[in-house]
């Protein structure tokens, strides 16, 4: 297998190729298991499938499952455990003076060993070269052991399951039970994702609060996360008061809402009440294109076109506008969330029953009066819901503000100045290599938790408003 993998190595790295070959071999075995189970079932029934409890294909599935599942479990377990195990074995085999280094130095050193062994970097010393050889050897041996074990298990599974094929065997029920377990397990992934998000954010946030008090984070008005490398440098303390970030986020999201709500709402009213079906069928998808354009494109547009335009326009009026003004980022973000307002509002306006409109017409109201005094009040809960959803989108939006808003944490309500936002800071704090114990990186997780809680709260309120009033007219 190694030779085969090496033959492809100019194109694809050997370790990945080996895994591919192992998977392919396993897949072949599974297919073979399926076919042999099916044939075996027909054979024990003397060629008459009616004598079987389950259709031959279920016997095939049964054998294939016995073949594939145990082997897959072994490989998955190995993939998860491999890094930890290798690290343990390699660091234990290091010369004593190396192994006694502090933990961070050892981690860096281990990283170097891994880079030499896996990516062919040049070794800086003999110790590294030896350790890298040890690493590569161990890895190869372990892979061979696990690969052989997996394939042996697969073959044993085929043999074992084939033996059990008989006319009375309830192959279908067994297969269906496995499928049912898979279905239930899949549906819990969503829950595990949420738990994962909450736990990882909470864990790192708690570590952050060991460095910085909660009250300073929530109520402090000064944000400068740069921490000096050496303790004796000036201004090295770092300040983690997040109020300027929350204010900046609200300012930009507020500008976005000022753009998006009137435009989106009026567009929704026009599309729902006035537009001809043909106009609607063309324009509605076009409006939704605005929501489908990647946000990095909006960010580029904001930084390249809108920000200079806003600055020049301000200069013509005699105003001094920062080149990364909140106004530019907010405007572009507003354009992006127009469809979030318009689509949902359109749906709720269309859902207002005809009878209400006809009642208003019967009393002599014009169409616009009907809309303003009957339809919109009736659709109000849904519209409020859509606006809240759009607001949560605006608050969580990242790329536009990363590319078009500033980095300086100004506490200001002036849209012409540069402000920074929660998401911008998360990205800035985490891009690039950082050690994971400084308050600087941990602050990003605290900000992430704040963002998560705020957007979740907004969504919960929006959904409860929509749900509470949805069936009023049904």
């Amino acid at each position: 297998m190694a030779a085969l993998a090496r033959a492809f190595s100019p194109l694809i790295p050997t370790d990945f190729m080996q895994l591919l070959i192992l998977t392919a071999a396993l897949a072949l075995l599974v297919v073979f298991g399926y076919a042999s189970g099916q044939r075996r079932a027909l054979a024990v029934a003397g060629g008459n499938p009616r004598l079987l409890h389950s259709l031959p294909r279920y016997h095939g599935h049964f054998v294939a499952l016995w073949c594939g599942l145990p082997a897959l479990l072994v490989i998955t377990a190995w993939l998860v455990l491999e890094p930890t195990l290798l690290r343990l074995l390699v660091t234990n085999a290091l010369p004593a003076e190396m192994a006694d280094q502090p933990a961070e130095r050892l981690a860096l050193f281990y990283n170097e060993i891994r880079n030499v062994a896996r990516h062919g970097h040049a070794a800086t010393s003999d110790v590294v070269a030896d350790a890298a050889r040890h690493y590569a050897g161990l890895r190869q041996t372990m892979f061979m052991a696990v690969g052989s074990l997996a394939l042996a298990l697969a073959m044993a599974g085929v043999v074992f399951a084939r033996r059990r094929v008989s006319p009375d065997m309830r192959a279908r029920n067994r297969v269906e039970r496995v499928v049912a377990v898979f279905l239930v397990a899949s549906s819990t992934v969503a829950i595990f994702t949420t738990i994962g998000i909450v736990l990882s954010l909470l864990f790192e946030t708690l570590r952050f609060f060991q460095f910085v008090p909660v009250t300073e984070f929530l109520f402090g008005t000064s944000w400068s996360p740069q921490i000096a490398m050496r303790a004796d440098q000036v201004g090295s303390s770092g300040a983690f008061g997040a109020v300027p970030l929350f204010a900046g986020t609200l300012l930009i999201a507020g500008i976005a809402m000022v753009v998006a709500v009137p435009l989106g709402l009026l567009a929704a009213v026009y599309m729902a009440e006035y537009a001809q079906p043909r106009f609607r069928s063309v324009v509605k998808p076009l409006l939704e294109v605005l929501a489908g354009i990647p946000t990095v494109v909006y960010g580029f547009f904001a930084a390249l076109t809108v920000a200079p335009f806003v600055r020049d326009a301000g200069a013509m009026l005699g105003l001094s506008v920062a080149s990364e003004s909140a106004l530019a980022a907010g405007l572009v973000m507003g354009i992006m969330i127009i469809p979030f307002v318009s689509s949902l509002s359109d749906d709720v306006i269309t859902a207002v029953p005809r009878s209400l409109r006809e009642g208003a017409y019967g009393l002599g109201a014009t169409k616009s009066e009907t809309i303003k005094q009957v339809v919109l009040p009736a659709a109000l809960p849904g519209i409020v819901g859509s606006i809240l959803l759009a607001a949560s989108r605006a608050i969580g939006e990242t790329m536009i503000v990363v590319m078009a808003a500033g980095l300086a944490a100004n506490l200001t309500a002036n849209p012409l100045e540069a402000v920074t936002t929660v998401t911008t800071q998360i990205v800035t704090l985490l891009v690039g290599d950082q050690e994971f114990d400084s308050p600087k990186t941990l602050a990003a997780f605290a900000l992430g938790l704040a963002l998560f809680v705020i957007t979740l709260g907004l969504n919960a309120i929006a959904l409860s408003i929509v749900n509470k009033y949805r069936e009023k007219y049904d």
Binding site: L183, L201, A267, Y274, G292, K367, S368
Partner: protein
């Protein structure tokens, strides 16, 4: 009734009619205004879209061509610094830059002095030697011969040819000196400067030199990431949708799962990036910047989309199908796999494609897991460090060179074309297999 009474009635009636007529006029005017405001909102929104697309197209289309300069290059062994050696190693590390410079000095023999010579050499890209290296690698016997070659021009020359940099001599702050503009005009007059299709953009990885920077590495990275996303999220999403729609009992647990899925759909994507960083990178020790991790994070992001679309598609299959199959003796799972799923598949696939399109444009979570590294090599496997298309856009947008504005826009055009194709595919699928029961 007396005359006076009649007259009083008539005199009071007329103003009433007039008042009503005037008010009606006002009301109708208000009606027209309202209608026009609505139309204006639609037009303004679409106008923004048009401006956005026009800006990108206007900036980016020129990146699909690239300026080349024709030179007579002599592959002199001495200039190459290889002496008598002809081994592959010697040829690979030879001084191709020097050969290109010599060719330029020969073309403009009047150029003297170091500053002028450096300016002259600046006409041609510092990466123009790749063609020469390839030529010699294929035929080592070519040392000493002279070839007429089209070499990639420097990004400033390219910008000048495309009209982004003024070609008027003496302009302030021009990236090209007056001398360079003069040489360029001379070369152009004899037809030694042309613009051709920019194949570099579609065949190479990232580079610090705009004229050598390509998208291919990012495209491959995107393909790897999306493949992982699809492999993970499609089976999980369909299985969840099937479970919730066809098997799950209506109880607290199921309700919890449903609420969870709806909430996940609204979580900002950057938070998923934090999850990926904390769990996949720090806890499981997966490689940084790798499409594998990117794909996994994107899979979690588009899982809710697929589940919600899948449930809608399953719900749209009428119960009569299920009842008929059950009546013929199918088990519950057989009803689903043999009857309901095939009928719901177009809807599920449409939702999946839309989810994938969303994942393709996602940037922020990938920045969190380190996909912002400067990577020149084309990734060979999902475990290699790599960029993806939107991240490449972000990286290039940050570069100060004028030529990268053009490249960034071109990258956006490529990204939008991919998105358009995926969305049109989804629409086509929906139109073709749409059932009205």
């Amino acid at each position: 009734m007396t005359d006076t009474a009649q007259m009083a009635a008539a005199s009071s009636a007329r103003p009433a009619v007039q008042i009503i007529a005037a008010r009606l006029k006002r009301r109708h005017a208000a009606e027209r205004r309202f209608r026009r405001t609505g139309l204006a909102a639609v037009v303004v929104s679409l106008g923004f879209l048009a401006i956005l697309l026009f800006t990108i197209l206007g900036n980016g289309l020129s990146a699909f061509s690239q300026t080349y300069v024709r030179l007579d290059v002599t592959l002199d062994a001495e200039t190459l610094g290889i002496g008598d050696q002809r081994s592959a190693d010697a040829l690979a590390s030879a001084n191709y830059q020097g050969v290109v410079k010599e060719a330029l000095y020969k073309r403009f023999p009047s150029v003297q002095g170091r500053v002028e010579k450096r300016e002259l050499a600046g006409l041609v890209s510092s990466g123009a030697d790749t063609d020469l290296r390839r030529l010699l690698a294929a035929d080592p016997g070519a040392v000493g011969t002279t070839h007429t070659l089209w070499l990639v021009a420097d990004d400033n020359v390219d910008m000048a040819m495309k009209g982004y940099i003024s070609r008027k001599p003496g302009a302030d702050g021009n990236r090209l000196s007056d001398r360079q503009l003069g040489w360029l005009a001379e070369l152009e007059a004899e037809g030694a400067v042309v613009k051709r299709f920019n194949s570099i953009l579609f065949s190479s990885g990232d580079s610090r030199e705009p004229e050598q920077a390509g998208l291919w590495g990012a495209v491959v990275g995107s393909i790897y990431s999306l493949a992982i996303t699809l492999l993970v999220s499609f089976p999980l999403g369909v299985a969840t949708a099937v479970y919730l729609e066809e098997f799950a009992p209506k109880n607290r647990w199921t309700h919890l799962i449903e609420v969870n899925i709806n909430n996940l759909a609204a979580v900002p994507s950057v938070v998923f990036g934090l999850l990926g960083l904390a769990v996949f990178l720090n806890f499981f020790g997966m490689p940084r910047s790798a499409p594998l991790v990117g794909g996994l994070v994107l899979a979690l992001i588009c899982l809710p989309t697929i589940i919600i679309a899948g449930r809608a598609a399953l719900k749209a299959v009428p119960p009569s199908i299920r009842e008929a199959a059950t009546g013929l003796g199918a088990s519950r799972l057989q009803v689903v796999t043999d009857h309901v799923l095939p009928l719901a598949m177009p809807g599920i696939l449409t939702g999946t494609i839309l989810g994938m399109a969303h994942a393709l444009g996602e940037t922020a979570p990938l920045l969190m897991i380190g996909m912002v590294a400067f990577i020149v090599d084309i990734p060979a496997s999902p475990l290699d460090p790599s960029a993806v298309l939107p991240v490449q856009v972000y990286l290039w947008a940050d570069s100060p060179e004028r030529a990268f504005v053009e490249r960034t826009s071109a990258a956006i055009i490529v990204l939008l074309v991919f998105l358009a194709v995926m969305n049109l595919g989804a629409i086509w699928l929906r139109k073709k297999f749409e059932h009205r029961w």
